[in-house]
Amino acid sequence: MNVITPTENKWIGARTVRPDGADKVTGRAAYAADTTMPGMIWGKVLRSPHAHAIIKSIDTSKAEALPGVKAVVTAKDIVDFPVDKSVMLGIQDMRWMCRNVMAREKALFHGHPIAAVAATTEATAAEACKLIEVEYEVLPHVIEIEDAIKPDAPILHDFLKHEGKPSNIAGTMVAKLGDIEQGFAEADVVIERTFRTRPVHQGYIEPQACTVSYAPDGRATIWSSSQGQFMVRAMTSLLTGVPQSNIRAIPAEIGGGFGAKTIIYLEPVALLLSKKSGRPVKMVMSRDEVMRATGPTSGSFSTVKIGAKKDGTIVAAQGTFYLQAGCLPGSPLRGPVGCSFAPYAIPHVLSVGYDVVSNRSKVAAYRAPGAPLGAYATECVLDELAEKLGIDPLELRHRNSAKTGMKAAYGATFNQVTFEETIEAIQNHEHYKSPLEKNPRPGIKRGRGVASGFWYNAGGESSAQVNLTEDGNVVVTTGHPDVGGSRASIANVTAELLGVEHDRVSVIIGDTASIGFSNLTGGSRVTFASAMVVTQSVEKVIGQLKERAAKIWKIDPEAVIYENGACRPAGPNAGQFPPLALKDLAAKANETGGPIGAGVQLNTQGADPGFATHVVDVEVDVDLGIVRVLRYTAAQDVGRALHPSYVEGQIQGGVVQGIGWALSEEYLYDRQGRLDNANFLDYRMPVCSDVPMIEAVVLEIPNPRHPQGVKGVGEAPIVPPLAAIANAVYDALGRRFYSLPMSPPKVTEVMDMKLAAE
């Protein structure tokens, strides 16, 4: 595997038209809710009206008697995974997934599925849901972490024990280096602060949706939008008992996932409804259901303590991170525990995470799961530390950067650390160098902040098939739903390696029956992993082309080279033949040995972590407490930008989601434990006019272990914004905010307290 250097490339690094672009802008793209079938009926979910209740009985007879109703499903129909025995599928524990898809013993949050109905119309299904009689014994509920970990808190699951007692702390995670006591003893300056963040939703535009058809011969077809059709197949199989070989999961175009669609809610329910009714069943969530009952990411309550020498050498760092899991265990502890201190060379680290259940919807993955809230705490403390030590905050980070070959507290030894390069990119950027007018107008204050971030990135299983068509074009099939432009990147790689025009390559996403197992589109892994398997597949195809040319020329295949889209004799000794282009060889495929094509399936290795450093300018309207982002520059090492537009898009998208997290997004609950803002009006994600053009500074330091030098891109950019913006707001107002979001009422409250104190 040779690393291709940028100057040689025609297609890698080119801003080609994305294969899915025309369909998406013309409305032709088929999303999950676009599937319809003859005889199809509609499924609807009955959801718990209580935040916490024992389900004493469910009587579905009246619903079943309603004309038009074809099937009813309750937890009894779903495969049970007893709580005392863990069954894992990837990082998901099926004990919790089965209870999340349909409440079993208890309703654990307002909106928890209790039963589902399929009927000839959506309205009939909804009406039938209302006819289901459920007897509940309502229990006291608990929403916030601090309440859930109190000794007298209502306990969600009596089988969960912490320190020997029933507890809402479902688990812990520890990362350690050196001796933390000794570390702090060596420090001249120690800063310790406590931070709070609220749960935030991934906010994808497309609600979860699926259509499932269960045939009389026991085979089921699923059309759904997800971040992994193989996950859909496996999880549906586990929850319904239908073997994987009998399930074909067909991925639809996906309207955003950001991690949330790495688990499922509807597919097993729709399959069972289809099985009972004998009809294809379609289910589409409403926005209210999406917000109320699909995973946001965890809210958090964290304490970070960092000690440094006077010269700025960090000697010790300690983090304690409590994360909301929602109603069932499984918050992303790995994010804050592992990532918070990873970019730094700190000899003594103790990082501990607590997984806390409460009566909220179960969290789901969200872009760099857990890492942003950890970095929020760490990077704000670093800002204070820099101020106290009188060192430029970027300089402090630079001095303490981890180095290649070092061992991180989370266990890995770094192959390649490119953190310093991202810091330097910001230090040398015109944005960071240009002065900021801090008091532009009366009542308006401006400030600048910086922060950095780390994400693991990942490799894992991927499959690809590269086939030549009879007319000499190329079809590439991969097994990964394309959430962020992966088809465009793969088209560039294939065109480059085969030396053909980009528009002769078509890239499609196979279903579970047509391509080999491919793990989730997640963990910033897809471009890395699929470019690797596609490269190896193309290399095999080129091998076949050389053999065919050799056969035609009657020379040794070793004497053939493939260059600029054609086979040529390797040198004068090989013979004098005019080149045979890919097209010519495809036309002669049958007479020279049959169809040309090859596939590769791998557990890909060699993903290097992502590092990012950001600088942001904010402007605060002091009297109204409104914080606006004026300018944002994000530097990141991406290894190699196969398609720069989608690399920039990933960086910009991550930053925008971070801006929402920092300034306006939060889950709000009422006293009954009901989500109070389950819509896009009151759950305030930034709109276009809220954010400036975000400048992505794309650093390309090739990953030596990848054929094109690719590193993961999608997650690192959401890690720094929370802290960068908090640090900028401090620079503007002289006040630190230890809780997010920095919404207008919170900003004015803090400023009024400041005035009163002065």
């Binding site: 006019s689 809220d690 207008p744």
Partner: protein, 293 residues
């Protein structure tokens, strides 16, 4: 499933009699449809399920904009924000009312949304209402018992409720003639820059002569169950040069008038504070438009 009857009469008389008849009938509620940007959304959410919908957009009087010889303006209740925006004169005379109407929703929503719908929807946070109150608008209403007029601030009765009686339809808004040296403005606080709902809205209408305020009206939205006319704020401004003391007194009057709720959109403390802040900012813009003469 319930069926919905859709009527689109061409005269007010037909509309009123159909409305009154449908409201009286056992078949359920009837609703007037102007732009539908509230009504259709509420129907889809299952909040209202009208048996009859009466579209008033085919009625001339309800969709007309007229500048009267005396300089007053009559705006049909169902005129869309976009139509009002394109009127050659209205925005010059009432820039504050126009900006309030044009703040409603997005471009697409503007093509439909009307000031009449905004008022009759009776949200405490409706954007055009405080500006209309500040403008001193009077509405004309027609019902089974004929026509009547009332000040715009008398229409809302509480969240989602109006003082209109059964069968009554809002016909138009009349905005009085402007003396020289007049200007109005509307500002709202929303956390985002677009697609949001007012946390506080403030309309100010001033007439100035010789650097002093000779007439003033102040409307506040989203700080009480109904949009408010804040007479004490107007009093504090009248006779002043809009000096800091007068503005602070008016801001204090606005804060005192607030009777907000703590909800997901804003806290009591925040809304109260912001009412005062917006009064000062809106008054400054209105004064600028009045020419500060």
């Amino acid at each position: 499933m319930t069926e919905i009857r859709y009527l689109a009469p061409r005269t007010l008389e037909d509309a009123v009699s159909a409305f009154a008849a449908a409201q009286g009938a056992a078949s359920g509620t009837a609703r007037i449809l102007a732009g539908g940007t509230d009504l259709l959304v509420q129907m889809r959410a299952g909040v209202v399920q009208p048996g009859t919908i009466i579209d008033i957009k085919k009625i001339e009087e309800v969709t007309a904009i007229t500048e009267q010889p005396d300089g007053s303006f009559v705006i049909g209740a169902a005129v869309s924000g976009a139509t009002l925006h394109d009127h050659p004169r209205f925005g010059k005379v009432w820039p504050g009312v126009l900006e309030a109407v044009n703040l409603i929703g997005s471009k697409q929503v503007q093509g439909r949304a009307s000031p009449g719908g905004n008022l009759c929807n009776a949200s405490p946070a409706g954007d055009s209402v405080p500006a209309m109150i500040a403008a001193g608008a009077v509405v004309t209403v027609q019902g089974p018992n004929g026509r009547r007029t009332l000040p715009v601030e008398k229409v809302p009765a509480g969240p989602g409720r109006t003082t209109l009686t059964p069968g009554e339809i809002l016909v138009s808004f009349t905005l009085p003639a402007r003396p020289a040296g007049s200007g109005d403005a509307y500002l709202r606080m929303i956390p985002r820059t677009e697609m949001d709902i007012a946390v506080v809205g403030c309309g100010v209408n001033l007439t100035m002569a010789g650097g002093k305020v000779t007439a003033a009206r102040v409307g506040l939205g989203a700080v009480a169950p109904v949009p408010l006319l804040v007479e004490d704020a107007a009093k504090a401004l009248i006779g002043s040069t809009l000096d800091e003391a007068a503005l602070e007194a008016a801001a204090a009057a606005c804060r005192a008038a607030c009777n907000p709720i703590n909800d997901k959109r804003g806290t009591i403390a925040y809304r109260t504070k912001v009412a005062g802040v917006l009064l000062k900012r809106t008054a400054a813009i209105a004064a600028e438009r009045a020419g500060r003469k």
